[in-house]
C-alpha cells in the first residue's frame, strides 16, 4: 500500500519538478523519464502482489469535497491494470527519453515530461480510486494530460484537429460518466465504491446505468461508433505517448466498465449482446480501416480499435455467460478479454515504438514511401516483427493466449450446447468474428511489416535510414521478449488473470466460484506446442545451414520475370496490397482515389493516390456537427445588433413569465 502511494506521490508530485528545471536543457530530458521509471518501479511490485491476489487493501482518508473521500484500494482487478500501466509506462519513458531528445523541440521537453508523469500518475490513480469523485478527477486529469501530450506538435494543423476531436470525444464520454456517477451516488448516498457495491439496483436502473457506462467508458476504450477520436489522436502524439495511450490508457475504459459492472448486480443478457455487438463492430471496422490506411501510426491506431473490439467481445460473452448461469464460459470470456488487455498493451506499445523508430530513422511513416528498413535497422525490424505476429494472435506469442481463451469460450458454448443452452448463438458470433478479424489482421500486419521493413526502399529518405539509439531499442527488445516469454511460459499465466476475474464475477455461489478457473493444463499444451514448434524451426534452420555450408550460395537480383529494368518503385505498395480486400468491404470502408488519366503515345507524369476515410466520421459525426453549426449559424441571427428587438426580447420574456406563472 505504501509503495503504491509512494508511486503515486512520486509521479504526481515529482512531475512538478519537471517544470522547475530549465525547459530547454538536457536535465528535463533525464529527470522526466527518471521520475516516471522510479514511480513505475515503485508501484509494479505491489501491483503484481495484488494481481495474483496476494495483497489487497483499502484505505480511506477524509476529503473535503462534498461526498468525496480519498478512498484508495487495491484488489486483483486494480492490480492487474496497475501492473500493465506501470510496466508499459516505464518502458515508454525510457524510450521517450531518447525519442524526445532526438525529435522534439527542446523548448517543450520539460512540459511534455510533466504531462507524461501526470498521465501515468492519473492512470494509476484511476485504477486505485475507490471513490467516484476521486475517480472522476483522476479520469479527467488523465484526459487533460494526454491532450497536452497529443498537442506536442501543435503547430501542425492536423495535430490541432486531432487534439480537438480527442478533447471533444473524451468530454462527451465524461458527460455520461457524470450522470452515471451522479445516479449511483444518489442511490447509495455516498460516492465511495464500498457504498456502490452495497447497492442492489433493480433491473431498469441497472440497465440505464450500464448503458451510461458503456457509452462513457466505451468512448475512452475506442469502441465503434465512439472511436473517431482514436485514429486521430494516437498518431498525432509523439510515439512514446502513442504507445502509452494506445497501449494502456484506452484500457482504463475497460477497467471502468468492469469495475462499475460490479456495482450493478446480476447482468442481463442484453448487456452481453450490447457489448458483443459493439465488439464485433469495432473488431471488423477497426481492422478493415487499419488495412486501408497508408499512415503507419494511423494504421496502428485503427488496429487498437480492433483489439478493443476483441476485448469487448470477450466481456460481452462473459456477461452473457453470467446472465445465463454458465460461469465456466463466462470465466473464459472475461479471462480472455483481460489477457488480451495485457497482451495488447505489450505488443501495441511495441509496435508504436517501432513506428516511432521508423519516423525517427526515415522521417516519415507514410507506408508507400518506406521499404527495406530491416537492413538498416535490424533490431527494430526484428522486434516489430515479433509484435506484428503477436498482434495477429499467432502462436507461440502472447497474442495467441487471449484469443485462444476466447475461441475456447466460443467452442465451449457450441460444443456444450446441452449444458449451456442459449449460448451457442453467442459462441458462433464470437467464433466467426474472431476468425474474420484474425484473418484480416494477418493481412494488415503482413502488409505493414512487408512494406516498411522488407523489400527495397521506395524513397530516398528510407534508403538513408539508420538504427535508433540504444535507449529506444532496449524497450522494444524487452517488450518483444515479453511477447515471446509470455507466450511460451504460459503455465504461469492462469494465476495472472484468475484473481482479477473473480473480482468481476462477484456474487455467484460457491459452486459457481469453483467453476471460475481455467481448464487444467490448457496453457501448458499451447505453450508446449509453441515451444516445440519453435525448437523444431530452429533445428530445421540449423539443418538448412548445415546443408548449405557445403554448397555454393549465390546472390542475384530478385527474379523479375524477364523485365529489363526493375526499380524499387515497381514494388507492391501498401495500397495495392490491401486494395482487393478493402474493395471487397467497400460498404464499411471507403477509399477515395484520385488518379490522372494517361494520354498520348508516351504518357508521363501519371499519379495515383488513395485515401481511406472513416465512414462513421464522414457520414455520421461530420454531418451532425455541420448540422449543429448550421443551426447555430441560423440562431445567431437572433443577435442581430438591433437594440429595439433586444428590448423586445426582454418584454417578451416578461410577458411569457407573467403568463406562465400568473395564469
Amino acid at each position: 500500500m505504501n509503495l503504491i502511494l509512494a508511486s503515486l506521490a512520486v509521479l504526481l508530485a515529482g512531475s512538478t519538478l519537471c517544470l522547475l528545471v530549465p525547459p530547454g536543457g538536457k536535465r528535463a530530458g533525464i529527470l522526466g523519464p527518471a521520475i516516471a521509471v522510479l514511480g513505475s518501479v515503485l508501484g509494479i511490485v505491489p501491483a503484481l502482489d495484488a494481481m495474483v491476489g496476494a495483497a489487497t487493501w483499502q484505505a480511506s482518508l477524509p476529503w473535503v469535497i462534498p461526498a468525496g473521500s480519498l478512498a484508495v484500494g487495491m484488489d486483483a482487478l486494480s492490480g492487474f491494470f496497475a501492473f500493465v500501466i506501470l510496466t508499459v509506462s516505464a518502458l515508454a519513458a525510457v524510450y521517450g527519453h531518447a525519442y524526445l531528445s532526438r525529435t522534439g523541440t527542446a523548448r517543450r521537453v520539460s512540459a511534455s515530461w510533466f504531462m507524461f508523469n501526470v498521465l501515468v500518475g492519473s492512470m494509476l490513480l484511476v485504477v486505485v480510486a475507490r471513490n467516484a469523485v476521486l475517480f472522476l478527477l483522476a479520469w479527467e486529469l488523465m484526459s487533460l494530460a494526454s491532450f497536452f501530450l497529443v498537442m506536442f506538435d501543435g503547430e501542425k494543423r492536423e495535430v490541432r484537429r486531432a487534439g480537438w476531436i480527442y478533447l471533444a470525444a473524451t468530454h462527451f464520454g465524461t458527460a455520461f460518466l457524470l450522470v452515471l456517477f451522479g445516479l449511483l451516488g444518489i442511490r447509495s448516498g455516498t460516492f465511495d465504491f464500498s457504498g456502490f457495491s452495497a447497492l442492489r439496483p433493480e433491473p431498469v436502473f441497472a440497465g440505464a446505468a450500464f448503458i451510461l457506462a458503456v457509452i462513457g467508458f466505451g468512448t475512452k476504450a475506442g469502441l465503434v461508433p465512439l472511436h473517431v477520436w482514436l485514429p486521430e489522436a494516437h498518431p498525432a502524439a509523439p510515439s512514446h505517448v502513442s504507445a502509452v495511450m494506445s497501449g494502456v490508457m484506452i484500457k482504463t475504459g475497460i477497467y471502468g466498465l468492469l469495475r462499475f459492472s460490479t456495482f450493478l448486480g446480476a447482468p442481463m443478457p442484453w448487456w452481453g449482446w450490447t457489448l458483443m455487438g459493439a465488439g464485433v463492430l469495432s473488431g471488423l471496422l477497426g481492422i478493415l480501416s487499419a488495412l486501408a490506411q497508408r499512415d503507419m501510426k494511423r494504421l496502428l491506431a485503427f488496429s487498437s480499435v480492433e483489439n478493443m473490439g476483441i476485448v469487448a467481445m470477450g466481456l460481452g460473452f462473459g456477461f452473457l455467460g453470467i446472465s445465463r448461469g454458465s460461469f465456466a464460459l463466462a470465466f473464459l470470456g472475461f479471462a480472455g478479454a483481460l489477457m488480451h488487455v495485457f497482451n495488447h498493451a505489450v505488443f501495441k506499445s511495441l509496435l508504436f515504438m517501432g513506428a516511432g523508430s521508423v519516423l525517427h530513422a526515415a522521417g516519415t511513416v507514410q507506408l508507400d514511401r518506406l521499404g527495406g528498413l530491416s537492413k538498416s535497422m535490424p533490431v527494430t525490424a526484428c522486434a516489430f516483427m515479433v509484435g506484428a505476429a503477436a498482434i495477429c494472435g499467432l502462436p507461440p506469442l502472447n497474442g495467441f493466449l487471449g484469443e485462444f481463451l476466447l475461441y475456447r469460450a466460443s467452442l465451449g458454448a457450441i460444443a456444450g450446447s446441452g449444458a449451456f443452452a442459449g449460448m451457442e448463438g453467442a459462441g458462433l458470433v464470437l467464433l466467426v468474428s474472431l476468425a474474420m478479424v484474425g484473418g484480416l489482421a494477418v493481412a494488415c500486419f503482413t502488409k505493414v511489416m512487408g512494406v516498411v521493413f522488407l523489400g527495397e526502399p521506395r524513397d530516398g529518405t528510407a534508403a538513408q535510414a539508420h538504427e535508433c539509439p540504444m535507449a529506444m531499442r532496449l524497450p522494444m527488445m524487452v517488450l518483444a521478449a515479453i511477447c515471446l516469454l509470455a507466450g511460451i511460459s504460459a503455465v504461469l499465466l492462469p494465476g495472472f488473470v484468475e484473481p482479477a476475474v473473480r473480482c468481476v464475477v462477484s456474487g455467484p455461489d460457491a459452486v459457481a466460484l469453483a467453476a471460475l478457473s481455467l481448464p487444467e493444463g490448457v496453457f501448458s499444451w499451447t505453450a508446449g506446442a509453441g515451444a516445440t514448434v519453435l525448437l523444431a524451426a530452429a533445428a530445421l534452420y540449423l539443418l538448412r545451414n548445415a546443408l548449405l555450408s557445403r554448397r555454393r550460395v549465390d546472390s542475384a537480383v530478385t527474379w523479375d520475370c524477364g523485365y529489363a529494368a526493375p526499380a524499387s518503385r515497381m514494388q507492391y505498395t501498401s495500397s495495392s496490397f490491401s486494395a482487393p480486400i478493402v474493395r471487397q468491404f467497400h460498404a464499411v470502408v471507403r477509399t477515395d482515389t484520385t488518379a490522372t488519366r494517361l494520354s498520348g503515345l508516351f504518357p508521363s507524369g501519371a499519379s495515383f493516390s488513395s485515401e481511406a476515410r472513416d465512414v462513421w466520421r464522414e457520414h455520421f459525426y461530420a454531418p451532425l456537427f455541420k448540422l449543429f453549426t448550421a443551426m447555430s449559424a441560423r440562431a445567431r441571427g437572433l443577435q442581430h445588433g438591433r437594440l429595439n428587438l433586444y428590448i423586445l426580447y426582454i418584454v417578451l420574456a416578461l410577458v411569457a413569465l407573467l403568463a406562465w406563472k400568473l395564469r
Binding site: 462534498p66 501543435g154 471533444a168 445516479l183 406563472k661
Partner: protein, 486 residues
C-alpha cells in the same frame, strides 16, 4: 462596514487630484486592495460570528458576505492587472491622464455602488445601487472611444436601464405586498422585515414582484433572453472592465435576484414556485450560449457568451435548491476566478496581436507564454475540465438535478455543456497553438502578471481538488438564505 461604503467614494475623489496616469493606476490598485482587505475582514467576521447589522439600512449576512469576498477578490486582481494593462496602452498613446482619472473614479464609484448593493437590507437602496452601477460603468466601456464601443455603451445603457426600471416595478410591488402585513415606513422595503412577515404578505403582489425582479435584474445579470447587451459591452470594454463585468457585476445583479427569490419562496411556502423560473431561464441561457459559442470569432465575445452560460448554470443550481444552491454559489466563485484569468489573458493577447479576431490569433502559447497559458487554462476551466473548480461545481449541480429527479433538465444541461465544451475548445486550440503569422507585439509579463496568472490557476486548482470543509459549510449556510431547503 461603514468604512467599506465610504472608502471608495473618498478614493474616487482623491483620484481626480493625482498628477499622472501611472500614479492614478497605482493608487487605484492600492486603494482597491485596501478596501478589499477590509471587506474580506468583515466577511470573515460574518462567517465566524453571524450577521452584522449597521443601522436600519445595512446588514451583512452569509450570502452578502460570500459575494463580498468574490468582489474583493475580483476587484483586487483586476486592479493589479490594470496597472500593467494600461501602462502598455500609455506607451502606445491610447491612454492619458484624463482617461485614467475618469477610469479610476468610475472604478471606485462602481465599487461603492456594488458594495451598497451587497450590504443593504433595503430593496430600494439595492435597486438604486444597481442602477448606479449601470450608469457608472457605462462610461467605463467608453474608455477607448470608438464607434463600436459607443454602440456597445448605448445598448448597455438602454437595455440595463429598461431592465432595471422593470426591477423597480418589482420593488414597488414588494412594498405593496407589505401593506397587508401592516409594515410601515422603511420596514416595507427591508428584506429582514419582509421575510419575518412572510406569512402575511400578499402573495399575488410578491409573485408578480418576483417576476419583475427576475426579468429586471436578470437583464443586468445576463440571463438569456435578456442578455443581448452583454457580448457587445464585454467585447468593447477594455479588458479590466470586461473582467470586472463578467467576473463580478453579473453576480451582483444575480445576488438581487437571489434576495427576491428568498422572499417569494418564503411567501409561497418553499415549494419551488420561484425556483422554477430560475431553472427555465438558466437552462435557456446555457443552451443559447452554446449555440453562440460554436461559431464565435471574437475572443472577448466568446468569453462573454461563456458568462451567459455560467450565469445560467448558477441560476439552474439556485433553482434546484438545497445542495444545488450551495454548489451554485461555489460555481460563482469558480467562475469568477476563471473568468478573471481568461479576460486578463485575452486582453493582453489582444494587445499583442492587435485584434480580438480569433481567426487572426494563433500560436499564443508560443508568442506569449504567460498569457497564452493563462488564456488556455482559463478557457479550459470555463469549459469544465477537471481538476479545476468549475468541474466540481458543475458535477455537484448536475448531481443535484439528478437527485431531484429532473433527468430531462440534467440531460439538456449536459448537452449544452458538451456543446459549449466542443465549441470553445476548438477556438482555444486554434488560438493557443499553431504558427503565429505577422508581427506580434511583445507585451511582456512582469512578476506581478506572473503572480496573477499563477495565483488564479492555483486558486482554481485548490477549489477543484481541496475546497476546505469550512468553505462548504459557509456555502450551505449562505445558500439556505436563497429560499430555504426543498
Amino acid at each position: 462596514m461603514v468604512l467599506l461604503l465610504v472608502a471608495p467614494a473618498v478614493a474616487a475623489g482623491i483620484v481626480l487630484l493625482l498628477p499622472s496616469a501611472r500614479a492614478i493606476m497605482r493608487f487605484c490598485a492600492m486603494g482597491t486592495i485596501t478596501t478589499a482587505t477590509v471587506a474580506a475582514c468583515c466577511a470573515w467576521r460574518t462567517f465566524a460570528g453571524g450577521s452584522l447589522q449597521a443601522g436600519e439600512w445595512f446588514r451583512m449576512d452569509m450570502l452578502s458576505a460570500w459575494h463580498l469576498v468574490l468582489m474583493a477578490g475580483v476587484f483586487s486582481a483586476v486592479s493589479l492587472y490594470a496597472v500593467g494593462y494600461f501602462s502598455k496602452e500609455l506607451e502606445s498613446g491610447a491612454f492619458s491622464r484624463g482617461k485614467a482619472a475618469r477610469y479610476a473614479a468610475l472604478w471606485f464609484g462602481a465599487m461603492d455602488a456594488m458594495t451598497v448593493v451587497l450590504l443593504t437590507d433595503n430593496l430600494g437602496v439595492m435597486w438604486v445601487g444597481i442602477e448606479a452601477t449601470t450608469l457608472l460603468t457605462a462610461f467605463m466601456i467608453l474608455t477607448h472611444s470608438s464607434p463600436a464601443s459607443l454602440e456597445a455603451m448605448w445598448k448597455y445603457l438602454l437595455m440595463c436601464s429598461v431592465g432595471v426600471a422593470l426591477a423597480f416595478i418589482g420593488v414597488i410591488l414588494a412594498a405593496a405586498s407589505a401593506e397587508s402585513a401592516g409594515l410601515t415606513g422603511a420596514q416595507v422595503l427591508s428584506w429582514t422585515h419582509l421575510l419575518d412577515a412572510a406569512g402575511s404578505l400578499s402573495s399575488a403582489h410578491v409573485k408578480m414582484a418576483f417576476i419583475f425582479a427576475v426579468v429586471g435584474y436578470g437583464t443586468k445579470a445576463g440571463l438569456a433572453p435578456m442578455h443581448s447587451w452583454l457580448p457587445d459591452a464585454h467585447s468593447q470594454a477594455p479588458a479590466p472592465v470586461s473582467a470586472m463585468f463578467s467576473a463580478f457585476m453579473l453576480n451582483a445583479a444575480l445576488y438581487c435576484v437571489l434576495r427576491s427569490l428568498a422572499l417569494v419562496e418564503a411567501v409561497t411556502g418553499s415549494d419551488g414556485w420561484g425556483r422554477e423560473v430560475l431553472l427555465v431561464l438558466g437552462l435557456v441561457s446555457v443552451l443559447l450560449a452554446a449555440v453562440f459559442i460554436v461559431g464565435q470569432r471574437d475572443i472577448k465575445r466568446l468569453l462573454a457568451y461563456s458568462s451567459v452560460e455560467h450565469i445560467g448554470l448558477i441560476a439552474v443550481g439556485i433553482g434546484l435548491g438545497g445542495a444545488g444552491a450551495a454548489a451554485a454559489l461555489l460555481h460563482a466563485m469558480n467562475h469568477s476566478v476563471a473568468k478573471t484569468l481568461s479576460f486578463m489573458s485575452a486582453g493582453r493577447i489582444g494587445q499583442a496581436y492587435g485584434t480580438n479576431d480569433m481567426r487572426r490569433i494563433s500560436g499564443a502559447l508560443h508568442a506569449e507564454p504567460l498569457w497564452g497559458t493563462g488564456l488556455l487554462l482559463g478557457i479550459m476551466m470555463l469549459a469544465g475540465m477537471a481538476p479545476f473548480g468549475i468541474f466540481l461545481s458543475e458535477f455537484l449541480i448536475l448531481k443535484s438535478a439528478l437527485e431531484g429527479g429532473r433527468y430531462l433538465l440534467a440531460g439538456a444541461l449536459l448537452a449544452g455543456l458538451v456543446a459549449v465544451f466542443v465549441g470553445v475548445m476548438r477556438h482555444a486550440i486554434g488560438v493557443s497553438w499553431g504558427a503565429h503569422e505577422g508581427i506580434v507585439r511583445n507585451v511582456g509579463a512582469g512578476w506581478l502578471d506572473r503572480f496573477l496568472v499563477a495565483g488564479a490557476i492555483l486558486v482554481s486548482l485548490v477549489l477543484g481538488i481541496w475546497p476546505c470543509s469550512r468553505l462548504w459549510h459557509v456555502l450551505e449556510m449562505a445558500s439556505a438564505l436563497t429560499g430555504g431547503m426543498p
